[in-house]
């Protein structure tokens, strides 16, 4: 099992799509860091007259305490990337026929799937942490040189670290879901299309037509877990919609992962490899 897992991890790391997305992520982070740094050097002062007087504040200045929000936002994008990469990880195996070759070396299909699941989850978890740390480091010079580090104390650092871990954990679960969809579809393109249709079309339709179902959607629960608190949204009828708390949201995401994985494993165990 360890040899199988090690092989799957090596294969994950050797994939060109991983290298490509890694390079794109790094380039994006560097660009973001440079842009934020330049903007921070030339802040815009906006003043607003209120009943208590005129209040002025600097826009475009990066304060280190805002890093937590940046990490949360980036984590949500990484979940989608994790799903797509994991779907392509197994979809490519079906597409190229290498699954047949692998099963003539390790015929115990449950082991094969488990190794792939664990490898995809570990890879997504570690990659997400690395990306979020590199992103934090890229924004640090802006805060240090032109912004502010006020409020960036130990509790803040701990809360930010938790945000990174929560984001990475949800990414790992997302990778499990992507793997299951890729395995069910046996094709990368179909798996990615299904995922994007569900996340960006179906869930939005549900949010619009049945806002009270929001609490059961994958995207909303993943977001709630990453941000770490309930969300209160206004429905069309004016009544507030209070979503699940982070623990319930995590359980909902886990339920999505478990159900899809169970379906994928059952089919993988029974279906002919032709």
């Amino acid at each position: 099992m360890i040899a199988l897992l090690r092989t799957e991890l090596r294969r994950c790391w050797s994939r060109r799509s991983v290298h490509l997305f890694g390079a794109l992520a790094l380039a994006g982070i560097i660009l973001a860091g440079v842009l934020v740094f330049i903007n921070s050097a030339h802040p815009m002062h906006v003043c607003q007259a209120t009943q208590t007087g005129t209040h002025c504040r600097s826009q475009n200045v990066f304060n280190l305490v805002d890093l937590k929000q940046v990490v949360r936002g980036a984590s949500i994008s990484l979940i989608v990337l994790g799903i797509a990469l994991a779907a392509s990880f197994i979809g490519a195996e079906w597409g190229t026929g290498t699954m047949t070759t692998l099963l003539t070396w390790e015929p115990r299909r449950a082991r094969v799937y488990t190794a792939k699941f664990v490898a995809a989850a570990i890879f997504a978890f570690v990659s997400a942490i690395l990306v979020l740390i590199v992103l934090s480091l890229a924004l640090l010079p802006s805060a240090l040189a032109h912004g502010s580090t006020a409020g960036a104390d130990a509790p803040w650092a701990l809360a930010t670290a938790y945000s990174i871990l929560r984001g990475a954990f949800i990414c790992a679960l997302g990778a499990g879901i992507g793997l299951a969809i890729g395995s069910l579809a046996r094709n990368t393109t179909a798996a990615v299309l299904v995922t994007f249709f569900y996340l960006f079309v179906l869930e939005n339709l549900v949010r619009g037509l049945k806002p009270h179902w929001m609490g059961w959607l994958f995207g909303d629960n993943a977001t709630i877990f990453v941000i770490g608190h309930k969300v209160v949204a206004a429905a069309a009828d004016g009544n507030p919609i209070v979503t699940h708390g982070p623990i319930s949201a995590l359980l909902a995401v886990c339920a999505y992962t478990v159900i899809l994985t169970a379906a994928a494993v059952l089919l993988f165990l029974r279906r002919d490899v032709t």
Binding site: R6, T96, T100, T101, L102, L103, E106
Partner: protein, 324 residues
């Protein structure tokens, strides 16, 4: 002891719109230990389905498949380390180098990089091992697939069309490699449609058609049993020669630049005698043998078509290079 045993194997695919297709229908086969065993059949005969059932990739509808005495539907894991295989076209990651592909597979069983390098050399890919598989020709991919099958140093090799895409030099190399493995006591099970290769490479052969085993045994026995008995006669004037032979009560036809005469094996002197008496001198006289291609075509011919062409001769001059 039979290394590969198949008993009553049946595989039926159900179609979505109803009905079903029977790919393999009650196949029984026993492959003895050692040597090269040819598994022949036309497209759609059920060869690949049989191989997939043997390797646990497909669940048979009924029947038993055993490899090295183990039921492959129940405990394939216990013998898989002793079996190397290629199923259809070798499938390896196109974006990785040949070496990396083999290293990833080898890592599953703790096979060293040295062994990977040796195997690449053995199939003639030593100098291209670091190139990406997608840059390989079909023949090179085939060699890499054979290398993957050989990596475990297996007792049993199951190869589906191993010569596919290879150039003549490559075919010869692979043939010699597989024959060598067979001579070493390993069992090489080769599914192929290249009949001349099977004849040159295999000790035993099984012919499959419409999911059923038609014939099985040593290649020479299969050919001998199918031989109609007779001689190929070459004379300067074929028509005159045929006339003389028929005049002497012998049955014959002109085919591929020679006269095929149906006659018992011990009666060849009567051919020379009859012809010499009429002043016709032989340029060639040899026994008429069934070749594997003819036997294969005859055995695998659709029964309906067989009825329609029942008048055609069922043996052919092996030196003719094609059907008459």
């Amino acid at each position: 002891m039979a290394v590969i045993e198949i008993e009553g194997l049946k595989k039926e695919y159900r179609r979505l719109r109803g009905g079903s297709t029977v790919a393999v229908n009650g196949l029984d086969l026993a492959v003895p230990e050692g040597g090269v065993f040819g598994f022949l059949g036309p497209n759609g005969a059920g060869k690949t389905t049989t191989v997939r059932c043997l390797l646990g990739l497909i669940q048979p509808t009924s029947g038993v498949t055993r490899l090295l005495g183990v039921d492959t539907q129940k405990d394939l894991k216990s013998v898989i380390d002793r079996v190397g295989s290629i199923v259809e076209t070798p499938s390896l990651f196109p974006g990785f180098s040949g070496r990396k592909n083999l290293e990833l597979l080898g890592a599953l069983q703790g096979i060293s990089r040295t062994r990977v390098a040796e195997t690449l050399d053995r199939v003639g890919l030593g100098d291209r091992g670091n190139h990406r598989v997608k840059t390989y020709s079909l023949g090179m991919k085939q060699r890499l697939g054979i290398a993957a099958a050989l990596l475990k140093d297996p007792e049993v090799l199951i190869l589906d069309e191993p010569a596919n895409g290879l150039d003549p030099a490559g075919i010869k190399e692979i043939r010699e490699l597989l024959r060598g493995l067979g001579r070493d006591g390993r069992t090489v099970f080769v599914s192929s449609h290249i009949l001349s290769e099977v004849r040159q490479m295999c000790d035993q052969v099984a012919i499959l058609a419409r999911g059923r085993l038609i014939v099985s045994g040593a290649v020479e026995d299969v050919l001998h049993e199918r031989s109609a008995g007779g001689f190929v006669v070459k004379v300067p004037d074929l028509h005159r020669g045929l006339e003389v032979l028929q005049g002497a009560g012998m049955e014959g036809t002109i085919k591929n630049g020679a006269i095929s005469v149906k006659l018992a094996a011990d009666r060849s002197p009567s051919i020379t005698e009859v012809l010499a008496r009429e002043g016709i001198y032989l340029s060639e006289l040899r026994p008429l043998e069934a070749d594997l291609e003819t036997v294969f075509l005859e055995l695998t011919r659709d029964p309906a078509a067989q009825g329609a062409s029942a008048q055609e001769p069922d043996v052919q001059d092996p030196g003719s290079g094609g059907r008459g």
